[in-house]
């Protein structure tokens, strides 16, 4: 009751800003959770002060001087009424806390029927969000004022999706589906990352666990509809000639957890020059068939007329959809398959980006056609 009133009062304003204890309240359940949190806090303050003050007072009042060697002091050894009192009062308080916690949890656990469904796939180490119309994204976009239900699954180990500003969290467990729901009453816009809400992975999942965080953007319904529509078709709207530098960087986000562009070693080989191994960038070493493979072979053994791959491009493409088939020497079988997630045009964009990797900054953004032929060619 109380939190509902609070929410409606605040509906016209923005989210209630962060306090010293809690991040901003940006979901419909946040106020109720925070009310309980503060309620428990106050119980803690009262009991802590009581305990600390009594402790300090008794220690001061009944302290003995170093010269005092009295063997004993006489004080009461028990008082059943007192002891039952300090059993009963905490008992009543924890029953109240349990009840409030349970009531709040019901709101967190019961998903409204009309909720908008987003499919979530977690894997080491990225999130993928898929919307009913087939659009996908790496950050989460949701419509304002609509209950959103996340249907979550994991490709590998346990992850956990946590949005502090919404006070929601649920593990993402391989081999089963889990649900999470929330409703965000305030729009963030999608203009700048710092306007979005944090989305963290909170179940330890390996090397890049702490990097597995994205943003949540809350859009006005109309803006969201437009976004999700465009998102489903975004790659179709790009001119084929511009594909590698317009679509490439967007798709590279999926790859960037493990592959760098500046030559820095990661969980996977860098797309940039592997100077330490005496190799060029991903296209140079693939084109020249130099990359050494696990088992002592090189690309020359598998690429060429009559071999497994007719062209270096075929090999690069298959490495994305079928990464376990051939492993680059020095790297484990860590890469998940992107089969079914990336259509032909997207794969083409990524292969195109690899072939012109010199044109990209370390963060994946396009520098411009720095080394391309002069205009008017």
């Amino acid at each position: 009751m109380f939190p509902a009133i609070l929410t409606s009062l605040l509906a016209s304003a923005g989210p209630r800003p962060a306090t010293v204890w809690m991040p901003p309240q940006a979901s419909t359940v946040a106020a109720e959770v925070d009310f309980l949190f503060n309620f428990i806090n106050w119980i803690c303050y009262v009991f802590f002060v009581l305990i600390a003050v009594l402790l300090v007072y008794f220690v001061w009042k009944y302290r003995r001087s170093p010269e005092n060697h009295a063997g004993s002091a006489q004080g009461p050894t028990h008082n059943t009424a007192l002891e039952l009192t300090w059993t009963g009062i905490p008992l009543a308080l924890v029953i109240a806390i349990f009840y409030l916690g349970f009531r709040g949890y019901v709101d967190l656990a019961v998903i409204p029927r009309n909720a908008y469904e987003v499919e979530v796939t977690a894997k080491q180490w990225s999130w993928s969000f898929k919307y009913p119309n087939g659009a996908t994204s790496n950050d989460l976009y949701v419509p304002k004022g609509t209950p959103v239900k996340l249907v979550m699954r994991s490709d590998d180990v346990i992850h956990s999706l946590f949005i502090p500003d919404f006070r929601v969290k649920k593990d993402v467990v391989p081999g089963r589906y889990t649900y999470l729901w929330f409703e965000a009453p305030y729009a963030t816009g999608d203009a700048r990352p710092e306007h979005g809400h944090h989305l963290f992975c909170t179940e330890y999942c390996g090397t890049e666990h702490s990097n597995m965080n994205r943003r949540v953007y809350v859009l006005e319904q109309a803006q969201f509809d437009e976004w999700v529509d465009k998102q489903a078709r975004w790659i179709d709207e790009i001119d084929p000639d511009e594909l590698y530098f317009k679509a490439g960087p967007r798709l590279f986000v999926l790859c960037s957890q493990c592959h760098s562009i500046d030559g820095r070693d990661g969980n996977g080989p860098s797309w940039g020059p592997r100077a330490a191994a005496g190799l060029g960038n991903i296209w140079e070493r693939t084109r020249d068939l130099k990359t050494p493979l696990v088992g002592g072979r090189t690309l020359a053994d598998i690429i060429g007329p009559g071999k497994e791959y007719g062209t270096p491009e075929d090999y690069l493409r298959d490495s994305i959809v079928n990464p376990a088939r051939h492993l680059v020497a020095g790297y484990g079988n860590a890469m998940p398959t992107f089969r079914g997630q990336l259509n032909d045009k997207k794969l083409d964009a990524l292969v195109g980006m690899m072939k012109r990797i010199d044109e990209f900054n370390p963060d994946g953004s396009w520098k411009g056609a720095a080394r391309a032929a002069p205009a008017g060619e």
């Binding site: 204890w21 959770v33 309980l36 220690v59 050894t77 028990h78 409030l100 349970f102 346990i158 081999g175």
Partner: protein, 572 residues
């Protein structure tokens, strides 16, 4: 029957070449194959403190790395190394330090003497327990050499079944072995307390430390086998690919969490219950007065041990287990808070009208009450469902369990170490340095971990190598606190070691304790007591007097009315 030491102050001031457990026999083998519970306790204590040092160094490396939000604050500490470090820190501190620290190290030394017994019921099992501990520790080191494991101390599947085989399997075998070490100690204590209590010591005349060790031993014996089974199942799944926990083979990862926490939650009480027992002794002895509410404290230990078995699911509120189970586990969880609160109030009431000596052990005892209060109260946020969903797996949890496991369990252990140090070593340490170090540890601890409550409730997840820049100020404060705490522990190590060489010789009873360990010499002779002494009310301090010649207290057994019961043996 006057061969007891309890006829003090009859003998002249301690002769230099006295026979005690340290001088009784000599040589490496006399220690390695000793059956003397005191020597085994001392060896456990040294091993635990060495492990604590190693785990502490790892903690300082972690805290230093977290000074900046970016990678490699310390060059060379990459994400993978960081993950290995926090795993090792947790595994060492839990399995090698806190679980054995009070029962196996202090308990081993004190329990038989408190009972007036010559040793535990099964001395050979006791030695086997120590050797198993060493074997378990060796496997942990082995896993480091073979391919460091980075699963977190919880070994959650399927992550632990997917990462390096060489790293994970040895440490699982190591923890399996450590479990048996713990079970052996527990069995020994249960039998010893049942069978070797001295005449006059009914269950409700036992020192509260013994009640706590008894409750702990029950948990050790009942819960640890489940951990052993679980770890074996992981190894079996890994080797044979029979689907148990890993969905890739048809298993269920949430089942693993149930098994793991079925042990590891009671394990929290293996850590905290004996600590509470120590604190009952510290508060009573250094207030020189009868403990308040003996029965409530004793029963609350047993209540915690029982309830502790029924709350494991509160580690899994976000795991996908059913809302009904979450609700039930939340409700039972709150039941544990009641006996904990009762203990705190009883300790406070013991201070009332006491005659309080602020000795170093007492300062640790008081620190415990404050830190345990914070640790316990913040458990309310985590037991309540709606708030736990937000706080689960954040630094709030990290702060909460450090307040309980370190601020409470370890601080009580350090307090107990100071309390029984004169008894174990026969030497007094420097009180002034002791108090300074305790203050540094107390302040450093709160600076380190209180800030982490704020970090957590603001949304900072745990086990993060990189973090958002807005969290940096908290991390910097926390890290500075950890340095202050480290300084406190370094000072502690220095003056304790110094006391071994240069410390004043300890009297039999430096603090004015009433239980039996204060009625034999410091350090105790090999056999503790020549004959089994009869005991009275172990919290009746009225029979304690200061003795100038001894520079310590003596227990005037001749004044104890409960010892004049018909047929009383021993005494005069």
């Amino acid at each position: 029957m006057t061969t007891l030491d309890l006829t003090r102050p009859a003998p002249p001031p301690p002769a230099p070449a006295e026979d005690n457990y340290l001088t009784h026999t000599r040589g490496f083998l006399s220690w390695a194959f000793t059956l003397d519970h005191k020597r085994i306790g001392v060896m456990y204590m040294v091993s635990v403190l060495v492990s604590f040092f190693v785990g502490g160094i790892f903690a300082l490396l972690l805290r230093t790395e977290l000074l900046t939000p970016g990678p490699e604050t310390i060059p060379g500490i990459t994400a993978d190394r960081y993950n290995v470090l926090f795993t090792l820190h947790g595994a060492i501190m839990v399995f090698l330090v806190i679980i054995p620290s009070v029962p196996a190290a202090l308990g081993n030394f004190v329990l038989p003497i408190m009972l007036g017994a010559k040793d535990v019921a099964f001395p050979r099992l006791n030695l086997a327990s120590y050797w198993l501990w060493l074997a378990g520790a060796a496997f942990t080191v082995l896993s480091l050499i073979m391919g460091a494991f980075d699963t977190g101390w919880t070994f959650y599947v399927p992550y632990s079944t997917k990462t390096t085989f060489e790293g994970v399997i040895p440490v699982l075998i190591g923890v399996f072995i450590l479990g048996f070490s713990s079970i052996f100690t527990g069995m020994n204590f249960v039998v010893t307390i049942h069978k070797l209590r001295p005449p006059g010591m009914t269950w409700f005349r036992m020192p509260l430390f013994l009640w706590a060790l008894y409750a702990t031993a029950i948990i050790q014996v009942l819960a640890t086998p489940v951990l052993a089974i679980t770890l074996l199942l992981i190894i079996i799944e890994r080797v044979t690919h029979i689907g148990i926990f890993d969905p890739a083979w048809g298993g269920d990862p949430v089942l693993y969490q149930h098994f793991f926490w079925f042990y590891s939650h009671p394990a929290v009480y293996i850590m905290i219950l004996p600590a509470m027992g120590i604190v009952s002794e510290l508060i009573s002895v250094h207030s020189h007065r009868h403990i308040f509410g003996y029965r409530f404290i004793a029963f609350s230990s047993v209540a915690i041990a029982i309830f502790g078995f029924l709350v494991w699911g509160h580690h899994m509120f976000t795991s996908g287990q059913s809302p009904l189970m979450n609700t039930i586990f939340s409700a039972i969880t709150f039941s544990v808070s009641i006996p904990s609160a009762i203990k705190v109030f009883n300790w406070l009431a013991t201070l009332y009208k006491g005659s309080i000596s602020l000795n170093t052990p007492m300062l640790y005892g008081l620190s415990f009450i404050i830190l345990f209060s914070i640790g316990g109260l913040t458990g309310l946020h985590l037991g309540a469902l709606a708030t736990d969903i937000h706080l689960h797996d954040t630094y709030f949890v990290v702060a909460h369990f450090h307040y309980v496991m370190m601020g409470s369990a370890l601080i009580a252990m350090i307090g107990g170490l100071h309390h029984w140090w004169p008894k174990m070593t026969g030497r007094m340490y420097d009180e002034r340095w002791g108090r300074i170090a305790c203050l540094l540890v107390f302040v450093g601890f709160n600076v380190t971990f209180f800030t982490q409550f704020l970090l957590g409730s603001q949304g900072m997840p745990r086990r993060y190598y990189l973090y958002q820049p807005e969290f940096q100020v908290y991390h910097v404060i926390s890290t500075l606190g950890s340095y202050v705490m480290a300084l406190g522990f370094a000072i502690t190590a220095a003056y304790l070691l110094h006391s071994l060489r240069a410390g004043r010789k300890a009297p039999a009873n430096p603090w004015g304790g009433r239980s039996l360990e204060w009625q034999c010499a410091s350090p105790p002779p090999h056999d503790n007591f020549a004959t089994t002494p009869r005991v009275g009310d172990c919290y009746d301090f009225s029979v304690i007097q200061w003795d100038e010649r001894e520079q310590g207290y003596i227990v005037r057994r001749d004044l104890d009315p409960s010892l004049r019961a018909p047929g009383a043996a021993g005494g005069h």
